[in-house]
C-alpha cells in the first residue's frame, strides 16, 4: 500500500483553549510506515496534537489530512487511526480479550474473525495466558501491552501513542522500547509516538519533531537532531551541550569563522538557510571535545575545575577565560585519567565538525 502521499499532513494548525494557544501554527508531514516521534517537555502541546489527529478535538484553524484527505469534521470512530492512551483507558468492565476485540466488534467483524484476531494480538504482545483477566488485575506493563494490542487489533493506518512508556519503571521501559520498535517494523503501521524522554526518542525513532510552547522547532532523524540542532532549545533539550558566545567574522559556504568570547577563533557549521551576522552562539557537545596539554594546539584554553567520574566516562569541568564553564566528556579506559588534577591549566580541542552555529 505504498503511496507517495504522507500518512498524516498537518498544515498551519492552531488550537486555542480560551486565550491560551496549546498549538501555535504547527505544520508537519509524517510519512507512511514511519516511526515518528513528538518530543518535548510537559505542556508543549504533544497530547493536544494527537487529540486533533484522533478527532477528539478540532483545530481552531488549519487542516489535517490523512493520506491526502482532509479529515476535518470526521468523527473519531470514522478515522482509521487508533490511540494508545497515556493512562491506557482500558475498559474496566471487560476482560483482556474483550478489550482487544472491542474495536473489531464495533467495526462489525464476524465473531470468528474477531476471535482469531484477538488470539493473534494476544500472541503478538505475549499475553495469551491472561486473556480472561479483568484489566484491573494487571500490572502496569501488562496494561500497557493490552492497550497496545487493543489499538493494533483493528489494523489502523496510523497508531498514535501518547507517552505509553512513561508509567513504567526503567527496566520494563527499556524492554518495551524494543518491543514497540519490533511491532512497528512487523506491522508496517505508521507510529506517531509521544514522549518527553529524549533518550527514548533518539533510540526508537525514524524521525523526531522537537516541540516547545505549541510549536515544532525542528524535524529530523535522530542523528540530525543531535548533531545539528538549529536552535538553543533543541540543543539544550536533547543531550548535553556547551554554549559559547561569539562574533561572526566571516562566512565561507556552509561554515562561519567565529571569534569566541572565551578567546580564540573556530570554524563552525551553519544551520540550514541561515547566514548570521554579528553576535552568534556556537555549540559543542561534551563528547565532541578533547583535552590537550597546555602547550598543544587547541581551540580553547582554561583551568580545570572539577573532575566527575561516571563509570563509563568522566566529566571535566573547565573554567574559560570569560568565566563561562565548558564541560567535556572523556570515555574511560582501564588506565583511567588519574593524572588529571583540578587547578591544572588545560587546552581543549574540538573534533572535526563539532562546532556549530545556532540560528538564534
Amino acid at each position: 500500500m505504498f503511496s507517495a502521499l504522507p500518512a498524516i499532513e498537518v498544515r498551519d494548525v492552531v488550537k486555542s483553549f480560551g486565550d491560551a494557544r496549546a498549538l501555535d501554527g504547527v505544520s508537519v508531514r509524517i510519512k507512511e510506515n514511519e516511526f515518528f516521534t513528538l518530543l518535548g517537555p510537559s505542556g508543549c502541546g504533544k497530547t493536544t496534537l494527537l487529540r486533533l489527529i484522533a478527532g477528539f478535538d478540532y483545530p481552531t484553524s488549519g487542516e489535517i489530512c490523512l493520506h491526502g484527505k482532509d479529515i476535518a469534521g470526521m468523527p473519531p470512530f470514522a478515522r482509521p487511526v487508533n490511540t494508545v492512551f497515556q493512562n491506557y483507558a482500558l475498559f474496566p468492565h471487560m476482560t483482556v480479550a474483550q478489550n482487544i476485540g472491542f474495536g473489531l466488534e464495533m467495526q462489525g467483524k464476524p465473531r470468528s474473525e474477531i476471535a482469531a484476531r484477538v488470539d493473534q494480538m494476544l500472541a503478538l504482545v505475549r499475553m495469551e495466558t491472561l486473556r480472561s483477566r479483568r484489566t484491573s488485575q494487571l500490572s502496569g506493563g501488562q496494561q500497557q501491552r493490552v492497550a497496545l494490542a487493543r489499538a493494533l487489533a483493528p489494523q489502523p493506518r496510523v497508531l498514535l501513542l501518547d507517552e505509553p512508556l512513561s508509567a513504567l519503571d526503567y527496566k520494563l521501559r527499556k524492554e518495551m522500547q524494543g518491543e514497540l520498535k519490533r511491532l512497528q517494523t512487523e506491522t508496517g503501521i505508521t507510529f506517531i509516538f509521544v514522549t518527553h524522554d529524549q533518550e527514548e526518542a533518539l533510540t526508537m525513532s525514524d524521525r523526531i519533531a522537537v516541540m516547545s510552547g505549541g510549536r515544532i522547532l525542528q524535524v529530523g532523524n535522530p542523528r540530525d537532531i543531535y548533531d545539528n540542532p538549529q536552535e538553543r532549545f533543541v540543543a539544550d533539550f536533547i543531550g548535553e551541550v556547551n554554549f559559547l558566545a561569539g562574533q561572526v567574522i566571516g562566512i565561507d559556504g556552509r561554515t562561519a569563522r567565529v571569534r569566541l568570547a572565551a578567546g580564540g577563533e573556530v570554524v563552525a557549521g551553519l544551520p540550514e538557510g541561515a547566514t548570521p551576522v554579528g553576535r552568534a552562539t556556537v555549540i559543542v557537545r561534551p563528547e565532541h571535545a578533547e583535552l590537550r596539554g597546555p602547550t598543544e594546539q587547541a581551540d580553547l584554553r582554561g583551568r580545570l575545575e572539577q573532575v566527575v567520574y561516571f563509570g563509563t566516562d568522566t566529566h571535566l569541568h573547565v573554567r574559560l577565560a570569560d568565566q563561562s564553564e565548558f564541560v567535556l566528556r572523556q570515555q574511560n579506559s582501564p588506565r583511567g585519567t588519574a593524572d588529571l588534577q583540578p587547578g591544572a591549566e588545560v587546552a581543549i580541542a574540538f573534533k572535526p565538525g563539532a562546532a556549530r552555529v545556532l540560528k538564534d
Binding site: 484522533a54 478527532g55 477528539f56 468523527p75 473519531p76 470512530f77 487511526v81 487508533n82 490511540t83 492512551f85 493512562n87 483507558a89 475498559f91 474496566p92 468492565h93 472491542f102 474495536g103 464495533m106 467495526q107 479483568r134 484491573s136 488485575q137 487493543r150 489499538a151 483493528p154
Partner: protein, 307 residues
Amino acid sequence: MSQAQEIAEEMARRSVRTRWWLSAPALAVVFLFAIAPLAVIVLYSFMAKGDYGDVKYWQFSLDGWFSVFFERGLFDDSIGIAQAHVSILWRSVKLALITTVVTLLIGFPTAYFIAIRPPSQRDFWLFLITIPFWTNLLIRTFAIQEVFRNEGVLNTVLMWSGLIREPLKIMFTDLGIFLGMAYVYLPLMVLPIYASLEKFDFRFAEAASDLYANNRNVLWRIIIPMTRPAIIAGCILVFIPALGAYVTPRLLGGGKNLMLGNLIELQFGQGRNWPLGAALSLTLTGVVMLALLVYVRAASKEGRSHG
C-alpha cells in the same frame, strides 16, 4: 504459654466482651426505630380485629393474613382468591415499575446533561432538579392537579395555541398518575446517576469512539455498564417509595383505582381492620425486600466483574 502472654490475651478477651457496650446507643436506635415498630406490626397482623378498629389484644388469629390473599363468599363459606387485593398489588407493582422506567428514561439523560455542563453551572441545574423536594408532597400534588385538570394550565395553553380542541383528559386517569409519580420521584433517580456520571472519566468514552464505537455504542457499551450500580440504586430509590405511594395516586387518580398504600390506609381508617392492614404492610415490605435482593445480587455481580 508465658504468663505475660496469658494476661495479654485475657485483656484482649475482656476488651472484646466489654467493647460492644460502646455501640449500645446505635443498637438502641436500631431497635427503637426499626425493629420495634416492625415487631408491633408483625404482632398486630396475628391478632383478631377489634370491632371498632384496633385489635383484640393477645387473641391470636390468622384472619388478617388470610384476608390478604383469600376472601369468603358473601352468601356461603366458599373460599376464593382475594381478587381485589391481587389486582391492587399488581396495579401497585405495575405503577411502581412504570414510574421507575419513566423516571429512568427522563432521569438518565437529565443527569447526563448536568454532568457534561461546565462544573460551575452544574450546581445550578442540580438546584433546579431538587426544587420539588422543597415543597410538601401534598401541596406539590395539588399543584400538579392545577396543571393537569381540564381547565388547568396545560389544557388552557394547548387549546389557546390551537393544538387541541377538546381538553386532554389527564386528571383522574392512569396517565395522570404516571406523570405525577414521575414528577415526584424524578430527583431520586437523577441524583445517584448524576453522582456517578459526574465522576465518570470521559476518556473511556473517547477510547471507545477511537475504537470505532459510534455515540450509541459508546452509551450502551461503555457509559451505561460503567454507571450501572448508580442506575440500579436510582431504580431502587424510586421503586420502593413508589410501591407504597398513596397521596399522589389518590389525588391524581381520584381514588377510583386503589393502590397498595391506599388499601393499607383504608384498613386503619374506614375499614377498621388493623390486622389486615398490618399483614398488607408486611406484604409490601416483602415485595420491597424482594426488589432489594435483586439489587444486591446485581451489585455483587458488578463487584465481581470489577475484580
